[in-house]
Amino acid sequence: MDFDLSEEQTLIKDSVSKLLKGEYDFEKRERHRAAPLGFSEEIWQSFAELGLTALPFTEDDGGLGGGPVEMMIAMEAFGRALVVEPYLASVVLAGGALRHAASAEQRAEILPGVASGETRLALALFERQTRHDPALIAMRATKDGEGYRLDGEKSLVLHGDSAHGFVVAARMAGSPGDTGGLGLFHVPADTEGLGRRGYATQDGMRAAEVQFSSVRVTADDVLGDPEGAYPVILRVIDEAIAALCAEAVGSMERMVELTTAFLKERKQFGMPIGGFQALQHRAAEMYMALEQARSMMMFAAMSAEEPDAVARRAAISAAKVQIGRSGRFIGQSAVQLHGGVGVTMEYEIAHHFKRQTMIDLAFGDADHHLALLGESGGLEAA
């Protein structure tokens, strides 16, 4: 057991922190998200230069061979700075689907571009009726000569508006509710019949609704078993949750830091409000919630590569529960303790609060995962 970072891990941490410190204070962040794509292409390029976009891919695929701990380090730093670039969308979600589902040939073709940052992909997974359950996917994929035809609509595709291509989950067989019959397809964004409508999200990022009307792809575009993608989808979701846990913890840490500083600095009734015991205790509870979340972030990272899917899902659900609850408590408390300043767009804290809120809702909120965990008999049964 060892909670220290390796030399390489320390290097990643230091270089990301340095970049963000210089180029990503709150004011610059607001400029980045005002850019045409909703993020800064220069920052994205800097991420690529630091090797961050290459982090989880094998060296054969043009990557650096990092694992969940390296991902955790990067995402935690992104969380502190409220990074809006499409890292989760392209590297973690779409990249993860390719890592786990694609053949060596497909990986060799697609992943070096993702790893170098030149290609940005998005994962088109959920639909209006699915909520968080990929088994409810309805979009159809039909065999069409040597290739496939895709028809349907995908919703809330993260950074789908600016993606160069998509990994799309569609149903070859069965009906919504069946875990079998799902396939994953690689679809360039300029494929005929693909339409999209982008929009801003509450947390300052971007997403899109994506329509597929008789979109034709070749046999080379199907990633793995065209009817057996469900376990891969679950695995990718679990990895994304682990990454989001780290992003959330980075943001929580920043909120605790900002709130503590505010309590020391803000004076009322002739003293810093941090002298009031009720506020001190609230701050102490925020700190405890942060540290409990940090522990579960580590647990999620440790469990993300767990081969036993049942144990992995239980661990990831447990982490999502803790992160959701801690994030909600810290976010609400940070806003409350900041008073009026906490509820304006002009200060950093509100943006963290909104990002925390959206992280909790992503891939199922705390109560959703608590229910999953309860159904499976709890953490020790798993």
């Binding site: 909520r131 919703s155 809330l156 999200t201 509450q202 009720a278 409350q336 906490g342 909104k354 809702l361």
Partner: protein
Amino acid sequence: MDLALSGEQRRFRTEVREFIRANVPDDVSAALRDGRSVGKDGLVRWTRILNAKGWSVPHWPVEHGGTGWGPIEQYIFQDELQLAPAPQMLPFGHQMVGPVIYTFGTEEQKRRFLPRIANLDDWWCQGFSEPGAGSDLASLSTRAVRAGDHYIVNGQKTWTTLAQHADWIFCLVRTDPNAPKKQMGISFLLIDMKTPGITVRPIRTIEGGHEVNEVFFDDVKVPVENRVGAENKGWDYAKFLLGNERSGIARIGATKERVRRLKEIARAEPAGGGAVWDNPRFREKVAALEVELKALEITQLRVVSGETKRTHGTPDPASSILKIKGSELQQAVTELTMEAIGPYALPFEPEHDEGWNEPPVGPDYAAPVAPGYFNTRKVSIYGGSNEIQKNIIAKAILGL
């Protein structure tokens, strides 16, 4: 002891309900139901309808346009407005400066301002908070210096709600910086927003809307006749104003209406092959909220009922419960509604008047939900934060 309304009170409720239902403009009610803003125009139209009926300032003395209703009737009226839903009157004129004027103002001030408040001919805003003075209001530093028959006002107010629409602002200003206690050198001024030297800067709030502002005063000339009451006694009028009317603070009816909406949404929103409402755990969370809300409704009625026996201007310290629990419940219902729509909380779709004219992403009820949750965080902060309210309970009720 009888917790049911009397026959007469029930008849009154029916009369109020039917009038509101028949008269509130459809677009105004629909906006409230959907969680959107009714806008200045919507509020003005509705206020004038109520004023024509004689109900826009029901709690004022009859000679100034009030109805003479008792506290329970007043409560029923507010409750029915919230349940309809129909807009409540703009508080800055109706609840705040109006009562200050008819209690402490000159005859000329009463004649000049009160009818225009009742009809929302003048839109008022409140100039109390300052950047350096939040919960510690009395430490304000906006200065007013006497120069002949005018004051010259310099300084800054903040969190000024809807100042962008305002014709008038009522302000606390420091007229004697050398007073032995900071509460003692403050005066209460009425200031025309068109006076040169006033600048309004919008503050974009957490959900992306424009609800509050900073207001800057740069050598603003205010006639002395626009001072209410005596010079340096403004703190007394501010205390009167803040303690004046608490019965609406819990917003029981509004939260009930939001719970109704929540249930509609939960029944409509798909989850797990059925609807969110099919999830027993979700229904328990709604039920838990309804229990607290029912308890608070009765607590509210107990306070209102007690008001018949209290002297005016000395609010029941138990009204701090109404503020704390009422704000917590307003927040809880927005939070649960957001949980109900789940992933569809994500898209940011500002209202039409702010430039969004695309079809909605996902269900048409989703767009205002997350903004509603974000925006409602303020209700435990403003009007005396919940921490301040707990201090009041500990000191004024428990004697700690």
